[in-house]
Symmetry: none
Subunit: 219 residues, 4 copies
DNA sequence: CGATAACCGAGACGGTACGTCGAGTCTTGGC
DNA sequence: GCCAAGACTCGACGTACCGTCTCGGTTATCG
């Protein structure tokens, strides 16, 4: 499915509304690149969300404001597209075992949480997610669902191989792992993500259970 | 505990800067109430974060802008105080067992996630947390740390009673539970918080472990 | 007189800049007509000067903007040419007497002042005359000087025939007559141009003089 | 009449719409002065009408754009008010004779036509007169009608004293004199206004009549 | 009791960014 | 080389808020 997807996934952007034979001067690919590059540059220079202005971006990109507004209907839509574009690709899972795959996924998230760019992306997402309803569905479909599916697939294989309990609630598993990583990534930036053993610790804790003797006896 | 807490916890607010005997007309308590009431009203009418402007709030509250700026140094500080003020009080834990206390804590979070007002509060928190460093520490000290302490206390008692494993990582426990609830609360608003059994399921999953026979054998 | 005037008097227009044999597709005569027709149409629909935009004209004419800019260097030049093109031809004077010729000239101006199209032309002239120095000389040479010459010729014949005083200041005569008509045309649009006797009244007043007995005695 | 007119005649301006007891901070008189001063300065530096921008004026006046838009609804209204404000006061007429008064009036217009500031004002008037209908009536009532009345009064006295013919058409007299001056002022800026004898020449020509012996015989 | 001082609503102030529009230029494919 | 279409940069438009600053007027406490 989706084998021929070359064009990058630009949601929210204003497509030239004509259907077939495209007339007139085509939009400049260079301008688009310059815009995204300017955003990334400003962002890396420490610009917060409120510091990113359309006028500033246009200036930094050497581009007219109209060129931006021709592509996106407003500031939010632009930021959203910039954010989606900055998302790092999903990791390739080794597939040696379900436990190992979970660990690799969490390790990917851990690294992402340490990367300035990725953390900035998450900030924007969390910021705009509720003020721009369109973004919600776009990001949900394009990023979140995709990741949930990865974990879900891993878990299914784990259940089949007997690594995971048969009555496993797949969503719950995903959320407990992802949620814990998000908390450490988004809520604290002096966050304890530096420990490379974190993914192993988390996965094993979840698989082995945290209950003690009294808990085991009660079952 | 905390029996003498009458004055609301207004951090970030600008206190009248003269220390000693205070002269002149005192600040109107009514104005303060009107401001908070206006924010809540606007919020309940569906105003997003970007729709909340100082001018709008002042107008809705029938209050001069200066009256707001006399109390808070800027827009963010006001929103933060409004948010902290809307925080529901912590639940009383029954203390019958550590497991039960965890479940009650999660049940409290679940209810909170279903409440429109509380969800709006979380939105603001997530939004402003990075753009206003002051908020970060205030909210961190005042809300997050307090909750972490509650869970930590519960867990400690659980370890002592043998309900929890002795090598329990308290922070990890807290984050996996809290993180999962936050994901369901903040990221999705069609979220599956409706299931009243959710807290029990989560706690028991974490305590019993999700590993299957193959996992158990490997240990 | 002027029997060979086929090509319209297009001053300010940009001639294809290669001098010699002209190659490639020749310019579309139809496009030119469409542009002028569009301007006239928009003008008659009540468009003020500020409402006439190049983009609007191009759209209304079904023509690309470049097609306009290939012919005129800027907006003002286009309007000027459009205006000159709308100028009605000079009247044929009967020549029966100098007084009669003056009256006929004023009558022509009176009618012109009652015509919406002509009044619009005058508006544009008065507007652009100072912001576009080129227009000034073009319009001056092509329209004003021509008319002054007509009146001057008439007056000269009048002096020769004894109808006019020998010490007549020709320019002053022209300006007093023309000026009065312009005032009624340009400054007021509820203007009293409806009276068909106006030209006769004006000419006779000027010729007979407005001085009374006391004035006559003083001379 | 109008003995108590202190407040300058600011038409088109947006008056604070509250009726009686004026609340809030009053508008800064200084800002208003700075705005007008900036316009005049820019104008004297040779700015054409198209070169006068709100942003430029605000900058030159050291004033926020909003401060301008709080007073005038748009650019045109501001220019109009600036123009009306720059109008020089009417001259005091000596009243020694009707002929003399007419000459003085024309001399005033001649001088005005030689003054850069006044010519600029006339340009703006002629420009905006048709694109901004409100201006038309304001300027008409406030300037043109007033001047017509002056000439009318003079002429009436002239008729009474026998200096002017009894059947004098007052409006026609005014328009022929005023029109001729306007033509020389507005249409040509290399205009022959330098001759100080011009007013005398014009008035005497009009009073004595330009007809020659043949014309006189025909009456 | 009167002065003093800080409060109050209202709204103007200088700025900054927004999103739109037009001018004049450039770049497609097509005739 | 022209044509229609429509992108491009630039810069002004008119609007909305921000955070500050007066206004006239209202309570409090202090002297």
């Amino acid at each position: 499915m989706d084998t021929d997807r070359q064009t990058p996934p630009s949601a929210l952007a204003v497509e030239p509304h004509c259907a077939a034979p495209r007339r007139g001067r085509p939009r400049s690919e260079a301008a688009e690149q310059a815009i995204f590059a300017a955003i990334e540059r400003l962002m890396m220079e420490g610009a917060g969300l409120g510091d990113l202005t359309i006028e500033g971006i246009a200036q930094a990109a050497g581009v007219g404001k109209a060129t931006i507004y021709r592509r996106w209907p407003n500031k939010e839509a632009l930021l959203v597209d910039a954010v989606v574009r900055l998302e790092t690709p999903e990791p390739e899972l080794s597939g040696s075992s379900a436990r190992q795959d979970l660990i690799e996924t969490l390790e990917y998230m851990r690294r992402r949480g340490l990367d300035k760019r990725s953390r900035w992306v998450l900030m924007v997402i969390f910021h705009q997610l509720h003020s721009l309803p369109e973004l919600k569905s776009v990001y949900y479909d394009r990023v979140i669902q995709r990741r949930r599916q990865v974990i879900r697939d891993v878990a299914r294989r784990g259940v089949a191989s007997g690594e995971f309990r048969a009555d496993l609630d797949l969503d719950l598993l995903a959320e407990m792992l992802v949620g814990a990583m998000l908390v450490r990534t988004v809520l604290w930036d002096d966050s304890p993500l530096d420990d490379p053993a974190l993914p192993v610790t988390m996965v094993d804790a979840l698989l082995s259970g945290l209950g003690g003797p009294a808990h085991a006896a009660a079952r």
